[in-house]
């Protein structure tokens, strides 16, 4: 790997080589045990916790000079978080970036999985705020680790049971817990449950980084991922009555946008790159 300084004095991709090796060791372990949360020595990053410090560290440690990076924030390429992380790596690693999903080799994402199906040559990096799926049911880390070790996941279903008995249906719509290869229960990060089925059997490698919580976990390509449910209340994804108001597609996750004070609204794709690709010939990638 390139250990030299880039033009402006940063080590390649900001982190020093020792730190990258430490993170890569955690990543290897995470890939070897799908869905298991591996502790790692998370570093201070030049951004606040909650802005993707975990994802950025994972991206920095897997980045190569010939990689093409895409960063999305809630599906959009042009929001503050996405733009600043893209600029960060342009500055510290001098790599190419893109907004076009299929052109990217590494995609760092906050709270969405791109609509475009990912290929075996791509890596998806998730930013994770709370890696522990049982944190709100059991606040003690010592206990949740034991529960994972013993595969004691009754509590997860208790939450779904309570959902149904209160609301008549499973009310969890994002960060919907999944079972990985019928072993570890995993928090898919706060993606809408609409995206959960995409994780199953995905060709791309999926890496999850939680900076503040100091955890890394992973789904190797073609891993079986199943959303938790009941036999008589099967897992379902969100549906909309109308197509995207901009591109007219009916198969993507739609954001509700309030247009004015009189309550007019429209629904449009949250994945901006996908929306553009459906609107006609794709404009050039941002350079």
């Amino acid at each position: 790997m390139s250990a030299g300084l880039t033009m402006n004095g940063y080590n390649f991709a900001y982190l020093n080589e020792q730190t990258k090796r430490m993170i890569r060791r955690a990543l290897l372990k995470a890939v070897a045990i799908p869905g298991y949360q591996v502790p790692f020595a998370s570093r201070e990053m030049p951004m606040p916790y909650g802005w993707g410090t975990g994802g950025v560290q994972v991206t920095a440690s897997i980045l190569k000079p010939d990689d093409v990076l895409k960063v999305t924030d809630q599906g959009a390429d042009d929001t503050t978080n996405a733009v600043s992380i893209r600029d960060f790596f342009k500055k510290t690693a001098d790599i190419a970036t893109t907004e076009i999903t299929q052109d990217a080799t590494i995609i760092q994402t906050r709270h969405r999985i791109p609509e475009q199906e990912l290929g075996a040559n791509q890596i998806l990096v998730f930013q994770v705020p709370i890696p522990e799926p049982m944190r709100f049911l059991e606040p003690r880390e010592t206990e949740t680790r034991k529960m994972h070790a013993l595969e004691e996941y009754g509590l997860m279903h208790v939450k779904l049971y309570e959902d149904i008995s209160r609301n008549g249906q499973i009310a969890t719509t994002y960060a919907y817990p999944v079972s990985v290869e019928e072993r570890y229960v995993m928090d898919p990060s706060p993606i809408p449950k609409f995206d959960n089925p995409k994780m199953n059997n995905m060709a791309a490698l999926q890496l999850f980084g939680a900076g503040r919580e100091m955890r890394i976990y992973a789904l190797p390509p073609y891993t079986r991922v199943k959303s938790l449910d009941f036999e008589d209340y099967p897992f379902e994804v969100q549906k909309w009555d109308e197509p995207c108001a901009i591109c007219g597609t009916t198969d993507s996750y739609l954001d509700e946008v309030i247009l004015d004070n009189s309550g007019n609204r429209m629904f449009c794709c949250s994945d901006t790159a996908y929306c553009q690709s459906k609107q006609g010939p794709v404009k050039g990638a941002e350079q």
């Binding site: 009754g154 208790v158 049971y161 309570e162 008995s165 209160r166 449910d229 009941f230 008589d232």
Partner: protein, 155 residues
Amino acid sequence: MGVSAGANIGERLMSVGARHYGNIREQALDWLGKVEIDQSRIDDLPHTFSGGMQQRLQIARNLVTAPRLVLMDEPTGGLDVSVQARLLDLIRSLVRDLNLSVILVTHDLAVARLLSTRLMVMQRGEVIEQGLTDQILDDPQAPYSQLLVSSVLQV
């Protein structure tokens, strides 16, 4: 964790692999009935229950997975006498109906006489006397057992 009475009973079932909401719900209702808690309370939180109801909910929660051996540590502690009596009746009928073995820890000799068939007297962490309940309560041999039995108020 603040979960409803039904979820408290269902948790045991779900942790041993039950994945059918309807069945879990049905069993929870059935057990609330068995331990004499009004079935309309199934979605209420246990902290809105009285002490006796909470004890009975605990019993339902522990018996729902049909264990063969149960350890009860002072199951009637902290309850007033009328509630105690009902709870004792309940435990006795459950033991009979479910063919259950119970190891019961108690300081109350009346409870011991009512519920148990065999009795062990323990002092300083050691068993000092054991045998049939009636035998020990009517003819205690060890000095401490004699003291215990003689300390019960005769009414």
